[in-house]
């Protein structure tokens, strides 16, 4: 996956790369660990046919602003199981972004490279990150245009919900987070927008679609608030995360 350059919007940048805990690793054996925030194609290209929202809207985004904090990469043994809902117990932890930092997921395809830090070599098989309100009070803001049956509305959807994500290993085309001494590795904080709006090209009775809001609640256009409770938007690639209040 191509990694694009830094976010168009960056508020309160605070990147440390500090090692929080390290047990049994020589700090001299380090590599470069990169954090990518990714809304995938639904963020950059929108909900286009056949991947309309579950209620048939075509969406195009001008911007999708998310504010992250406390983004921490972990090496855990045994591997962290997000479904356990337990805290991440790490052998080594590296703070990637203390934050808060606000990013625009719609700005560039292939993900937003947030930061690259020097980190002890090893397998970063867990990632923790918070979605938190930014300076404007919003943790996530989606701005764009929706179209259905010849009707087009402009929208601005805002939530101030704060959500902590406790995630295991990245799941995707490749295995990520394996950092060799002198090498590079990356980790993804991934946002699945279909968990917000659903997908017309997926089974209507599937868990994702039955839980998604769709766009009908916002069909009047203009600004609306929404809640993230129970939506599980944050992932690591295709891997789900445990979510809780920070």
């Amino acid at each position: 996956m191509a990694v694009q350059s830094l976010a168009r919007v960056a508020v309160g940048l605070a990147v440390s790369g500090s090692v929080i805990a390290d047990v049994g690793h020589a700090l001299a054996e380090t590599g470069e660990l990169t954090l990518v925030a990714d809304g995938e194609a639904l963020a950059t290209e929108g909900f286009l046919p056949p991947a309309l929202t579950k209620d048939g809207w075509e969406l195009r985004f001008e911007s999708i602003l998310v504010t992250l904090a406390n983004v921490t990469a972990h090496q855990t043994e045994p591997p962290y199981d997000a479904e356990s809902g337990k805290p991440i117990e790490a052998v080594t932890s590296v703070m990637l972004v203390e934050g808060p930092i606000t990013l625009d997921l719609a700005a560039t395809g292939g993900g937003v490279e947030v930061t690259t830090v020097e980190a002890p070599a090893g397998f970063y098989n867990a990632l923790g990150w918070d979605l938190v309100p930014g300076e404007d009070g919003a943790s996530m803001t989606l701005i764009g245009t929706a179209t259905r049956d010849g009707e087009t509305v402009d929208f601005r959807l805002v939530t101030s919900d704060a959500v902590r994500h406790l995630c295991g290993e990245y799941v995707g085309d490749e295995r990520k987070g394996i950092l060799e001494a002198g090498g590079t590795a990356s980790l993804d904080a991934t946002f699945h927008l279909d968990h917000l709006f659903g997908r017309a090209d997926q089974p209507a009775d599937g868990a994702m679609n039955t839980g998604a809001l769709g766009f009908d609640p916002f069909a009047a256009g203009g600004e609306h608030g929404f809640a993230l409770d129970g939506l599980h938007v944050g992932h690591v690639g295709e891997g789900h995360c445990h979510v809780e209040a920070p």
Binding site: P78, P79, A82, E169, V171, E174, R175, Q202, G206, G239
Partner: protein, 153 residues
Amino acid sequence: MSKRPDRLPILLLALLASVPETALGHAAFVEADAVRAVRVEGRYATGEPMAGAQVTVFAPADPAEPWRQGQTDADGVFLFVPDGEPGRWAVRLRQAGHGGMAHLDVPADTAAPLVLATGRAAAPSPVQKTVMAACVIWGCIGTALYFRRTRAG
């Protein structure tokens, strides 16, 4: 010459070795062995099996490169036999933008059981909200079906 029963297999093998290969061209030999295998089962939060999901197995020696790839069956199940390499094995299931991992430890002692490092053993939790439940059983999938030409009669 006396025909001691314990020499019969050796005699039969000798006879087989002397038969021209063409005469055995239609013969089918099935060999099976009892081995320890890993059974991975993927399910969605709804309980629906991850049928036809993409499976990738990673061996300990090269955890970044797939060791084997395959597909779950209609029940969301995939079986594989680790090659004996001890260490942490990982299995990844993916389907329609959702996926999950399970990890298991293969001990150097071949008589010791495999250890599930992550994933779920047997029945999935009712509160399971994600993609996959994996269970690993320590047992055998093979059936001993050696066709041995022993003790004819």
